[in-house]
């Protein structure tokens, strides 16, 4: 089941080479990380707690400068944050004084005319299934609705890459399940510009349900220790025995080697 995935899937969208990040200049959290994402692909990153997965996403988005290595978006080296890469946070971040519509429109201000911004924002809100809630404030919405707004905002910026940092971790299981079931069709919808998604998650069921490929991080400092292709048809079902096999495989990857035996 475990395999190294070396096939070429056309032009890479986002690529990083030997990326590393260190606190205080020398204490590397992760090091020598090279990954690639391709069109219409959802790539997951898993690893034990403390391997710097969230930091890695921020370095990829150039929100934090890397200590070593380089990141490329469509073969152009990235130096600064770009709205072509949208980050969806683990702690759902919506501006409390803005309505749902304004929360989405904020990324379009001064980039397109106000009418057009409203139109795009409404379209994205509809895409995430919140039609009719444009005037609601975050306080008036559930956690699941707020996260949909954050995703709509991310999509409204017309990104080609979306980085998702444990996007469902603060949601209750039912809400998280329904959003998971929809997320793939939302992000890879012809209505938006998205090409690929990188998802960081601890939930192995979530990873197997959503990912096309999985990078496993491990060690100190963390490196990519394995790359696994999830070769299951969509929509995926947890009832499928193969689904469970993938979960087991990932679980083994994450367990300390001595306890695996």
């Amino acid at each position: 089941m475990t395999q190294t995935f070396n096939e070429t899937l056309g032009e890479s969208q986002l690529e990083c080479k030997d990326l590393g990040y260190a606190y205080s200049g020398t204490n590397f959290i992760f090091k020598d990380i090279s990954i690639k994402t391709y069109a219409d692909e959802l790539v997951a990153i898993v690893g034990p707690s403390g391997t710097g997965k969230s930091t890695f996403l921020r370095v990829l988005a150039s929100l934090i400068p890397s200590t070593a290595g380089h990141a490329f978006l469509n073969n152009v080296e990235m130096k600064d944050p770009s709205s072509q890469i949208s980050l969806v946070h683990q702690s759902i971040a919506t501006f409390p004084w803005m309505t749902a519509l304004d929360n989405v429109k904020i990324v379009l201000r001064n980039k397109v005319k106000d009418d057009e911004a409203t139109e795009i924002a409404k379209k994205m809100i509809a895409l995430v299934g919140l039609n009719g809630h444009e005037d609601a404030y975050p306080k008036e919405m559930s956690g699941g609705m707020r996260q949909r707004i954050a995703i709509a905002r991310a999509l409204a910026a017309s990104p080609t890459i979306m980085l998702m940092d444990e996007p469902f971790v603060h949601l209750d299981e039912l809400t998280a399940n329904s959003l998971r079931a929809e997320i793939y069709s939302i992000v890879f919808n012809p209505e938006n510009t998205l090409k690929s998604v990188i998802l960081v998650s601890h939930n192995l069921h979530e990873v197997v349900q959503l990912a096309d490929r999985v990078y496993v991080m491990g060690g100190t400092p963390a490196r990519i220790v394995n790359e696994i292709k999830i070769d299951l048809p969509r929509p995926r079902s947890e009832e499928d025995p193969l689904f469970y096999e993938y979960v087991k495989t990932l679980y083994k990857e994450l367990m300390p080697k001595e306890s695996v035996g």
């Binding site: 949208s86 702690s91 501006f95 904020i106």
Partner: protein, 542 residues
């Protein structure tokens, strides 16, 4: 002047300030705890603090004049008057900050403390007090600066030909400036500067530690280096004060039948402490209310009936003078706001510049403007080769107000920017949101609660600045700084001429106007800030 006298006077003034800050903090913990536990008390307490927080210190002048200066009189009266003004300048800010901290303690932590029967003291020591440290540490800077401002101007009160004074650096500086004794002024300022720098650095260090260790959701590293002295001090304190630590017994307690009984008794004792705490809190609140009511009645009764007709006839003119002062306050506030936000935004985005300049700004801000302003005046006034025109006088008064006020809105903005969760800043970076959109839609709304508090303090201190600057006899040598029109000048001149009646009446009028203004405007603005513009509520991490 003897150097030892200057040092002792500085120590006296700083001790007053530090003691009052300590009293404010300790009383704030108790009152805030009672407030979060008792809904009825909370309603009274918060309304009361909100109103008083928004009234300028100078609005309390009737109480000071009638009860302390005129009533008690002498050194004791001036001592209490000075302490009262300083206490009033610092306490509301600290109390409301502690209350907000207590109100925002995560429910799961409260449940842990209930679950394991921490008891009243255990909860205070292990949860409530530590959780409030970041707020206390950020409130302490403006409070210290405000306190020094008022200690400088209230250590000496001249009523007619009698000057009441208490021993302190403010008194020495007034003496030195009125005689034009430059050497003594420099010595006083030098010693005061040393004291201010030492205390500011200590506060700065406490603030860094408090935010790093006790703040939630912060990426600031906790420094664990405890230095050479701390273990020794700990050992010393254990040897000298071998007080048993209650929490040790709690953790060592085995849950046998006998000990369960002990635990139940502890819980009951803790609840009875809570009840006592509630009674104490309610008592304190009522004492304050009765005190304020009594003072207001005293103001009215202190004026002979025959004088009323005269004062009432002067009232329209006094209101006009107050209007002119309001314009001055608005101008100073706008200038302070623009300057503070520009500087604050620049520093928030330039780490190196902020590392160097923030401690400097903190130190300068704590240095009371009335202490060094006479020197600025002495150095620049002779450049005007004629008597100061009204515009030039206005500029001096405005400069004094600005020097004593802009820090509040600056620190408010700065703390507000620092409190914006990283996620939001990442959103602005991620989507390359432009400067003006970012300021208008995100930074200013996100810092709104802090800005309102900062602006309120700025307005508050601008009134204090006007009270000092509108009529300043012997500002340097025999020169007098005075504006043509201004309510604060009427009060100061009334005091200087021994006409307590006009001073008390004008300040009472002022207290009524600012009281009404505070209730209908400032308080609502603060309510709006606390209800709508709380950026932390934008993070959903249930």
């Amino acid at each position: 002047m003897e150097l030892i006298t200057i040092i002792l006077a500085t120590l006296a003034s700083l001790s007053r300030v530090l003691m009052l800050i300590l009293i404010s903090i300790v009383s704030g913990w108790i009152l805030s705890y009672v407030a979060v536990k008792n809904r009825k008390f909370e309603n009274i307490y918060i309304s009361f603090v909100n109103i008083f927080e928004s009234i300028p210190v100078i609005g309390f002048l009737p109480i000071v004049l009638v009860i302390f200066i005129s009533g008690l009189g002498g050194t004791l009266g001036v001592e209490i008057a000075a302490d009262f003004l300083v206490f009033d300048a610092i306490v509301w800010n600290i109390w409301i900050g502690q209350y907000q901290a207590f109100k925002t303690i995560p429910q799961h932590l409260i449940e842990v403390s209930e679950n394991y029967n921490f008891g009243w003291w255990g909860k205070m020591k292990n949860l409530y007090i530590p959780f409030s440290y970041p707020r206390v540490s950020s409130d302490i800077f403006p409070s210290f600066a405000d306190a020094l401002f008022y200690i400088m101007v209230s250590e000496v009160f001249s009523v007619g030909i009698t000057a009441y004074k208490v021993f302190g650096i403010g008194t020495l500086i007034v003496q030195a400036t009125s005689t034009g004794d430059l050497t003594s002024i420099y010595e006083c300022l030098g010693v005061l500067a040393v004291g201010v720098v030492v205390i500011t650095l200590a506060f700065g260090s406490f603030s860094k530690h408090a935010i790093a260790k006790y703040g939630l959701n912060t990426s600031i590293e906790i420094k664990r280096h405890i230095g050479y002295w701390r273990p020794h001090i700990r050992k010393w304190s254990k040897d000298v004060i071998p007080t048993p630590r209650v929490s040790k017994y709690a953790t060592k307690m085995k849950m046998g039948t006998e000990n369960i009984q002990t635990a139940v008794t502890k819980v009951r004792t803790s609840r009875s402490f809570e009840k006592i705490g509630k009674y104490i809190g309610t008592g304190i609140a009522w004492m304050f209310l009765i005190f304020i009511g009594y003072s207001s009645i005293n103001v009215i009764l202190s004026v002979p009936h025959s004088q009323w007709a005269i004062y009432l006839a002067q009232t329209p003119n006094l209101l006009y003078q107050m209007g002119v002062d309001y314009i001055r306050v608005i101008v100073v506030t706008i200038v302070s706001f623009v300057f503070a936000v520009s500087l604050g935004y620049y520093l928030a985005n330039h780490k190196k510049a902020s590392t160097i300049s923030l401690p400097i700004i903190q130190t300068i801000s704590a240095f009371p403007a009335p202490a060094y302003f006479p020197l600025i005046f002495a150095a620049t006034a002779p450049l005007f080769l004629h008597n100061l025109s009204s515009v030039e006088t206005e500029l001096y008064v405005m400069l004094l107000c600005f020097l004593g006020t802009f820090y509040y809105v600056f620190f408010g903005f700065w703390v507000g920017v620092r409190a914006i969760p990283t996620e939001f800043l990442e959103v602005t970076q991620n989507y390359k949101i432009g400067f003006f959109t970012k300021m208008r839609r995100i930074i200013l709304p996100a810092t709104f609660p802090y800005l309102v508090t900062g602006l309120s303090s700025t307005i508050n201190s601008a009134w204090g600045g006007l009270a000092v600057g509108e009529f300043w006899p012997n500002i340097y040598g025999n020169q007098t700084l005075q504006v043509h029109t201004g309510m604060m000048k009427v009060i100061s001149k009334g005091l200087a001429n021994g006409d307590m009646g006009i001073a008390a009446w004008t300040s009472l009028l002022f207290a009524i106007v600012v009281g009404v203004y505070s209730i209908v405007f400032t308080r609502n603005l603060m309510d709006l800030a606390r209800k709508k513009y709380v950026i932390e509520e934008g993070i959903y991490a249930a």
